[in-house]
């Protein structure tokens, strides 16, 4: 059960020609796939395209009606390999993943696919996880398009354009027998806008029909001598065909300006940012009408030399606005200009930053530098000098009249050191947190060990307060990245892997590898029933029963199946057992890797299911007990050791009620889910007697009432005595 349900929104996918849709980018892409007559879809979840997988999952009825087959692929490699169905049949297929990480995983299959080429359109939607909000290494998908000769679309980020390019992507793919990648940046995936729908199309051929009429073509298989032929085909046949298609359908756009002397070349995806930058500089209006002519590359690979030459010819200078590094397009443009012997001066990463996301301020500054050098009169009087109001905060004193006229006078310096960072972290009641509480406590006893981390929510262990984990080498590669430490030592190393990563590849890359190489190290597998970090999608070991998927395959069985002898499954909230098990794993004489499966459900998902059920029971008059934690603020001494073993957002601090003390005391707010970690830590780390769990009884039974009444009268009597004493001993 995914974190976000699209059950309601997917009904919009049924809308027909002429109807207006107000939706998120991802839903627009899904609708466009159906409009383009896609025959099969798949992919692997990960921000920013997780919602695409969630939408497809929730839209299975509608997909079924159209005979579209949907697979929740086991990995990006699986998804890319699935596109093989478009090699021998005119089937349109689309898959989606997070890039560049997903593309890395998929690249073997993609390269093979691109070598033989496709008959049916093959589209890969890549969510380019770059810049603000990204959680991965900062790289570009562009390189993959170049190395495998696939085409890369980077449309202007508005819904009409994005949906149009989905359809064009299939056409381009079929016109040039080449798989096509559609790149969407983070915010484009989540942009909420409007477009006009077309009717959905049933696939020209369905997967079922293809399966019933098998077809093969030896020349499409990557083996000598065809592989050599493929390379020739790519360059002599498919590339020219693609360029011809791009030119004739005008996929790239020439936007007019009112000067012929200079111009901008840009990736389509940056269009809105560039227009806003020009707008602030007084060079464009809110509708994108610009004083500078622009060549907008909605296709960023291959390059259409003729168009670039046409745009640059006669201009004194052009600015290439290209996000990320290396500057592949800029290099190509320079090459094209030189070959064509054009004297147009090329600006690019010399006036723009050579790396990092291109947001408004950065582009504004780059354009200004460019015009300063190439055509200063365009900047106007106010902007001609260095007086443009770029955001360059200057420190000002708070005592002065700070409502000064200039916007730059922001008291930023005063805030230096006052604004603590707020990185992402474990949610309230997360079942993964106790694993790291236990590991931290064990390390306090045994000394530090080398910990290899993995991709997933559990990677938050690298942050305070846990500070655990030395590397992360990729999804499912936690155990693999600890494999060099497979040497004799008195303390084994620990690697961590999530259930998502485990099924993605960790079972083979990590566990089988450790068995085969006779590793004695420890692998902790975090089994929380879902691929939690990507939005709670179901996986093989999910506990729920699903109509369209086979679940409930225990990780323990898989691990034993590949030859692990020592495996233990522990409830994550049982910190004591977790500590004991870790220590046992460190000391057991059993040979081979020690696998600890830390099992408990992602609380976000559990709450989504149980909260309504709880309310329903209360309403129905059934006896239920709610639990949450509580800290005695008188007993707490404000050392915060409990917080250093937890980091739960719900375990926070408040002002000390004792007027003689200034250190804040621990406090549990009302978001507490009563997971029990606070109590378990108080016990296992012998913290303090301030923690209590409160049990709040709803709809008490007769027994509850009788006992409750008795307790109340006895305790009340004793509390009266205490009150009398306190009255006597009062100041």
């Amino acid at each position: 059960m995914a974190e976000r349900s699209f059950k309601k929104e997917v009904q919009l996918l049924r809308k027909g020609a002429g109807e207006e849709l107000h939706v998120e980018g991802i839903l627009g892409v899904t609708k466009a796939l159906l409009q383009a007559g896609v025959a099969y879809v798949g992919g692997y979840q990960g921000s920013p395209i997780s919602h695409l997988m969630d939408v497809l999952n929730d839209a299975q009825d509608i997909l079924g009606e159209l005979d579209v087959h949907f697979e929740s692929n086991g990995s990006e490699a699986t998804a890319a390999a699935m596109l093989a169905a478009s090699v021998n049949y005119p089937l349109r297929g689309a898959v989606a993943w997070k890039s560049t990480v997903g593309t890395n995983v998929a690249s073997d299959a993609l390269a093979n696919l691109a070598s033989g080429g496709v008959q049916g359109g093959a589209l890969v939607v890549v969510g380019e996880d770059y810049g603000e909000g990204s959680s991965i290494m900062q790289e570009r998908s562009h390189a993959f398009a170049m190395k495998s000769q696939m085409w890369l679309l980077d449309p202007r980020p508005n819904l009409p354009m994005i949906t149009e390019m989905v359809e064009q992507g299939f056409e381009l793919s079929e016109a040039s027998n080449t798989p096509v990648m559609l790149e969407l940046r983070i915010r484009a995936c989540h942009v909420h806008g409007t477009f006009t729908a077309k009717d959905n199309q049933r696939p020209r051929m369905t997967v079922r029909e293809a399966k019933a009429n098998p077809n093969r073509d030896y020349s499409r298989i990557v083996l000598p001598p065809s592989n050599f032929l493929h390379e020739k085909e790519k360059i002599e046949g498919r590339l020219p065909a693609a360029i011809e298609y791009i030119k004739s359908t005008r996929l790239n756009e020439f936007m007019p300006g009112d000067t012929d002397e200079v111009g901008l070349i840009l990736q389509g995806g940056l269009y809105n940012t560039v227009i806003r930058a020009l707008n602030i500089l007084g060079l464009a209006d809110s509708f994108g009408n610009s004083r500078l002519p622009m060549y907008v590359m909605n296709v960023t690979y291959p390059y259409v030399d003729e168009e670039i030459i046409e745009f640059c010819a006669g201009k004194k200078a052009v600015l290439m606005i290209e996000e990320g590094q290396p500057e592949y397009i800029e290099q190509a443009v320079a090459h094209i200009l030189r070959k064509a012997d054009l004297q147009t001066r090329l600006y690019g990463k010399d006036v723009l930053p050579s790396y990092g996301e291109y947001q408004g301020a950065v582009v504004m500054e780059g354009v200004k530098k460019f015009l300063h050098a190439a055509l200063p009169q365009l900047l106007g009087d106010e902007n001609a000098e260095d007086s443009v109001a770029f955001f360059e905060p200057k420190p000002v004193s708070l005592e002065e009249d700070t409502k000064a006229e200039k916007a730059q006078l922001i008291p930023v310096k005063q805030l230096e050191g006052e604004i603590p960072p707020r990185p992402s972290g474990f949610c309230v009641g997360c079942p993964e947190r106790p694993i790291f509480s236990a590991m931290k406590q064990v390390q306090q006893e045994t000394g530090e060990v080398h910990v290899s981390s993995d991709i997933g929510c559990h990677l938050f262990s690298i942050l305070p307060p846990f500070n655990l984990g030395a590397t992360t080498m990729g999804y499912g590669l936690g155990a693999a990245s600890g494999s060099a430490f497979n040497v004799d030592s008195d303390r084994p190393s620990i690697s961590v892997m999530g259930d998502g990563g485990f099924w993605h590849n960790g079972l083979t890359s990590g566990i089988s590898n450790a068995v085969f190489n006779k590793s004695n190290d420890i692998v902790v597998i975090v089994d929380n029933n879902y691929a939690a970090a990507t939005g709670g999608q179901d996986i093989l070991s999910s506990k729920g029963e699903l109509e369209n998927r086979s679940t409930q395959h225990a990780i323990e069985h898989a691990v034993k199946g590949v030859g692990v002898e020592w495996v233990q499954t522990i409830d994550t909230y049982d910190v004591g057992s977790m500590k004991d098990t870790l220590k046992e794993a460190m000391n057991t004489p059993v040979d081979g890797p020690k696998v600890i499966i830390a099992q408990n459900e992602c609380m976000l998902n559990k709450q989504r299911r149980e909260k309504p059920a709880f309310k329903k029971k209360v309403k129905a008059g059934k006896r239920v007990v709610r639990e949450r934690f509580f800290v005695d603020s008188d007993t707490c001494t404000g050392d915060h050791a409990c917080i250093r073993l937890s980091g739960c957002p719900s375990l926070t601090v408040k002002d000390n009620p004792n007027p003689l003390k200034s250190d804040p005391v621990a406090y549990v707010d009302n978001d507490c889910l009563g997971c029990g970690l606070c109590g378990a830590n108080a016990h296992t780390a012998v913290l303090c007697p301030s923690f209590s769990r409160t049990e709040i009884v709803f709809n008490p039974s007769i027994v509850d009432r009788l006992l409750g009444g008795l307790r109340r009268s006895v305790i009340g009597f004793l509390q009266n005595r205490i009150d009398r004493r306190l009255k006597k001993y009062a100041f």
Binding site: E132, N158, R187, A188, H190, H192, G257, D258, N272, R276, D285, S286, F287, G288, S290, Q359, G360, L398, T402, A407, I410, V412, L415, E418, I419, P421, R422, G425, C427, P465, R628, F630, D634, T635, T637, D639, H640, A641, I643, R644, G647, P649, D655, P659, L660, H683, V686, L687, P689, S692, R693, T694, E695, I696, V697, L710, Q719, Y729, A730, F731
Partner: protein, 524 residues
């Protein structure tokens, strides 16, 4: 000749929130209002991992449809805020408002800032061993200086007061500022259309609307500001009155408030005689305090009272059996009148604590007897859950609390009292010779906190500091002791403290000194 056809600009709105705060809901509402009332709207966000409790920015632009019709083009709306180019910044938490200022999204020429002033503390702040909280006052003044108009109050509290969520409060505040070209009813319509918790959301909306209309600007209380401690007119009991008269008679006005508070806490902790002991000790300090502001007396009054009221098992039991505590729990968990609420205490009594609670002789004997420890120790290796809302648990705690009468003969008392007297003697000795040093020493007990291993760690570091003080005497600077104490609180692992100790200029032969110091720390 320019080909620009319009001068109309979109209205640019940024929402700075944490994952799970309903920034998405708020942004949908704003979009709904705009789209329903002749505006084109675009919103974006960065979900994904950023949602897991991290800070994130939702961004919207809205544009008048009439202008788009006139020009017959669609506007090109941006997906990211540009520093210096935001009309309305909504921050769902105080530090996030500060962060928005830092990033340039709030500027005095154009930005209306709506800031919720409650704090949701970051791990970096709350994991500190002392007070690591950001300075709200500083952030507040920066917010005002950076914005064109600033509306700031505790919106979380207002949401709670109306059984609603912060997004409805923020939405009401937006409407109240009148920065967006929509009528109040049109905003309310968006909440109704949403169809979830409409009644309470509208109540919260209304309350916030009124506050924003009046440009409400509340500065949150700063936790670090020293509280004013009043001197009562009269005491509640005759014995109390005698103590009060003694305080009024012998202490200067600057010190009276804090001494009264000390006495109040010690009477509550033990009895009147114990409070007298406190006053006797304070008399000695005052006699040596020659500074006009009586800083040494005030600080010693604070730490002496806190130390004398050390948290032993008797005190913990006392705190857990009081009526006031049951009531506090009930109100914190929002129990209905008459609803049964049962606390389950997570306690981990160790053999040492049991010995501590016994009379000194017996306690010492048991603590030092290896055989007994072996025999009984096993009973105290695991944590216990005690139900103090039920009879057995409550009676146990009640009995323990009533051991107060014999507290001053327990082993724990003997230990603490010796340490208190040694520390106090140091303060007294140094007061005349190096006031600044005496002051720093008077504050050193702030290192002693917690229970069990936490308490032992604090005590060990306190002893190490005192050892340095004793070895180097009045030649030591107060700043050095202050810095040692800060280093002791800088990290649990003690790395910073060890480095600070190692960096001390050494009075005698270096190696011996360090070794001795370590030994003293260990033996403590």
């Amino acid at each position: 000749m320019s080909n620009l056809v319009s001068e109309i600009q979109p209205i640019k709105i940024a929402i700075s929130a944490m994952g799970g705060q309903g920034g998405g809901v708020l942004s949908n509402w704003i979009r709904d209002v705009a789209e329903a009332h002749d505006y084109l709207a675009q919103s974006t966000s960065v979900p994904g991992v950023a949602q897991r409790t991290g800070a994130t920015i939702y961004y919207l632009e809205i544009f008048p449809e009439a202008e788009a019709k006139r020009v017959n083009q669609l506007p090109v709306l941006s997906m990211n805020p540009v520093p210096g180019d935001v009309d309305l910044l909504i921050a769902a938490e105080l530090v996030e408002a500060g962060r928005a200022v830092q990033r340039g999204f709030v500027t005095p020429d154009r930005t209306t800032l709506i800031a919720a002033t409650h704090r949701s503390y970051t791990v970096a702040e709350k994991e500190q061993m002392g007070n690591g909280l950001a300075d709200s006052g500083k952030i507040m003044s920066a917010l005002q200086a950076a914005s064109k108009d600033c509306i700031a109050f505790d919106m979380e509290q207002l949401a709670k007061d109306n059984q609603s969520v912060i997004s409805s409060v923020l939405f009401g505040a937006i409407a109240g500022t009148r920065v967006l070209p929509f009528k109040k009813e049109e905003f309310e319509e968006a909440i109704r259309k949403g169809g979830i918790a409409v009644e309470t959301n509208l109540k919260a909306f209304e309350a916030a609307y009124q506050r924003a209309e009046q440009h409400m600007l509340e500065t949150p209380e700063d936790s670090r500001q020293e509280k004013d401690l009043p001197v009562p007119q009269s005491a509640a009991t005759p014995q109390g009155e005698a103590l009060l008269q003694r305080i009024k008679g012998s202490f200067p006005a600057e010190v009276q408030g804090i001494v009264c508070e000390g006495v109040r806490q010690l009477v509550d902790y033990q009895d009147f005689a114990y409070a007298e002991l406190y006053l006797d000790r304070m008399d000695q300090v005052l006699a040596r305090d020659k500074e006009s502001n009586f800083a040494l007396s005030r600080e010693t009054a604070r730490y002496l009272a806190l130390w004398m009221a050390f948290q032993d098992t008797i005190r913990v039991a006392d705190q857990k059996t009081r009526r006031e505590r049951s009531e506090r729990i009930r109100s914190e968990v929002k129990a209905q009148p008459g609803q049964f609420v049962y606390p389950v205490e997570f306690l981990h009594p160790r053999y040492e604590e049991i010995c501590d609670t016994l009379p000194k002789g017996l306690g010492e004997f048991m603590l030092n007897s290896g055989g007994l420890k072996k025999l009984l120790g096993g009973l105290f290796t695991h944590g216990r859950k005690l139900q103090t809302g039920k009879l057995s648990g409550y009676l146990l705690m009640y009995t323990l609390a009533s051991l107060r009468f014999m507290r001053r003969s327990t082993l724990r008392y003997a230990h603490e009292n010796t340490a208190i007297e040694a520390w106090l003697q140091n303060v007294l000795d140094l007061a005349g010779r190096n006031y600044a040093l005496a002051l720093a020493v008077s504050r050193a007990p702030r290192l002693i906190k917690g229970y069990g291993p936490t308490h032992a760690r604090g005590m060990k570091r306190f002893n190490a500091v005192m050892k340095v003080v004793e070895q180097q005497g009045s030649s030591l600077s107060g700043v050095t002791v202050q810095e040692l104490c800060d280093a002791a609180l800088a990290g649990e692992d003690g790395k910073a403290f060890d480095e600070a100790l190692a960096a001390l200029p050494v009075a005698t032969t270096p190696s011996d000194n360090v070794v001795e110091m370590r030994q003293s720390a260990v033996s403590a």
